[in-house]
Symmetry: C3
Subunit: 204 residues, 3 copies
């Protein structure tokens, strides 16, 4: 395996997702084993659901020992340095936003490999990027952040997907459209968060 | 795609399931995105689980743009007209009961296509018809209606399945046995609800 | 199908898992149907997730009518004799610990059949043995016992898996390594429970 800039960003995104799972498990007083399980579920849950629904089995992480090592290290570091990691929240947040973009792109690519429609490809991007966190919240009994946080999170994935397919329609080469998509997801997520732009909710 | 009476009923059932998911999401103060996600999960969750367990991948809805459009429209209308939809509860309930029968029949058919036993075929019918709602309740943190509501819901699917295989054993043609099954599910669901017939529970 | 000592232990483990699901459903006041569903989910949930992720579809229980009969009988007996079963808690606990070992071994075997790494094989063993209970807790709204109970449960599966691959590396024949693995899982689970040895948790 060669380490490209993307594979490194991908592992950083996985790292951030694993940290978010491990942190939430510790807040909920899970035991050591539970912390590792939730780190895994958060980091690979979205991609696993995508692979299962597409029939890409055995699912991807089963052949990816580097990915697994990264998750184990992330969970271990979260346990050992949880006060520090809380201070490093900004970096975790940045990696998480990058991971969002990278996982979105990976999901879109899976959909294209299966000749699926643009809508489904974008849905697969969103599922890959966000369902790990949804499963994390279900397991820990939290109100799902994905669905209720009002922050622009999944929508960032969708906008990135639209940009990707727009560039593709214009025959822009992948070397440009792929990084552009990841940057769009990152920026939409980051800027809307930074300026407090939120989705409306209902009820009361 | 030609529109038969069944495909139209199927879309109406999907519509009703999507409305039920979207309504519950709004009650739980999910954001706009969350309302659409829960509409999808409720409408396609049962069929997705069936397809995944059978290995029928990519799962059905990925190639069914009409189905997806119906869900989007259902969620959109629920958001726009939620007070009206509450008044239309009776129609939603009727579509839901029809959807229950149609999804049961679709699940049974999948089992037959895979040469599975009658018991498993009926189980697949029940899973197709009811697990979307179960997942909806898990995500929203509700006590699962499927398992605790005491209303005759999944049992209606099972009785429909038994009728289907009884007619099949008697060599009754599909043109009769399939609609008969859907009608049985609908009637069992409707009449037991109408007359308050319930399943016993335990504990206290 | 011939009944070997393993197939009988396997069915006893399935029986115990089904009883645990049915018991929890009754405590939560699920209706009769819900009790049966939770018995099934608890007994076959872990193996189903394993099969789905590996692409071994249709999943195993769809072709195993004896397994299904055992689950139905287990749920039925739990309903009929729940006070007695509470008194028989010790036997349920023993079967459960045996089931843990047997399901671990079955998961490891699936991983080997797919030429997966030792780490993934052991992970599949743990998933097979423990995720049915995790799904049971999610559906019933319990804090997941697997992740928070602090008892040595999934770790017992992991230790059994390590013993299995150590024996395999030493070219010990399967006739010895397989039962040894099951015994190790059982003993680690049993002895740590007996002597109150627990995993640390976090927070407070």
């Amino acid at each position: 395996m060669e380490f490209t800039i993307f594979s490194i960003l991908d592992l950083l995104g996985t790292f951030a997702f694993a940290v978010s799972g491990a942190s939430q498990a510790m807040k909920k007083q899970f035991d050591v084993f539970g912390v590792f399980v939730l780190a895994f579920v958060t980091a690979i849950g979205g991609g696993t659901l995508r692979d299962i629904m597409l029939g890409d089995t055995p699912v991807g992480w089963m052949h990816d020992s580097i990915l697994i090592s990264v998750i184990i290290v992330a969970a271990g570091l979260t346990i050992l340095f949880s006060p520090v990691i809380n201070k490093l929240n900004f970096y975790v947040y940045i990696f998480d936003a990058l991971g969002l973009g990278l996982f979105t792109m990976a999901g879109i690519q899976s959909g294209i490999d299966h000749d699926l429609s643009i809508f489904i490809c974008i849905a697969l991007g969103m599922i890959s990027a966000t369902f790990g966190g949804l499963i994390r919240d279900i397991i820990t009994g939290e109100k799902p952040m994905l669905l209720t946080r009002k922050e622009i999170y999944a929508l960032a994935c969708a906008l990135g997907g639209i940009v990707y397919f727009a560039l593709r329609a214009l025959s822009v080469p992948e070397e440009i459209s792929v990084p552009a998509t990841i940057v769009v997801v990152f920026l939409v997520r980051h800027l809307t968060f930074r300026f407090g732009i939120r989705l409306p909710t209902f009820g009361g």
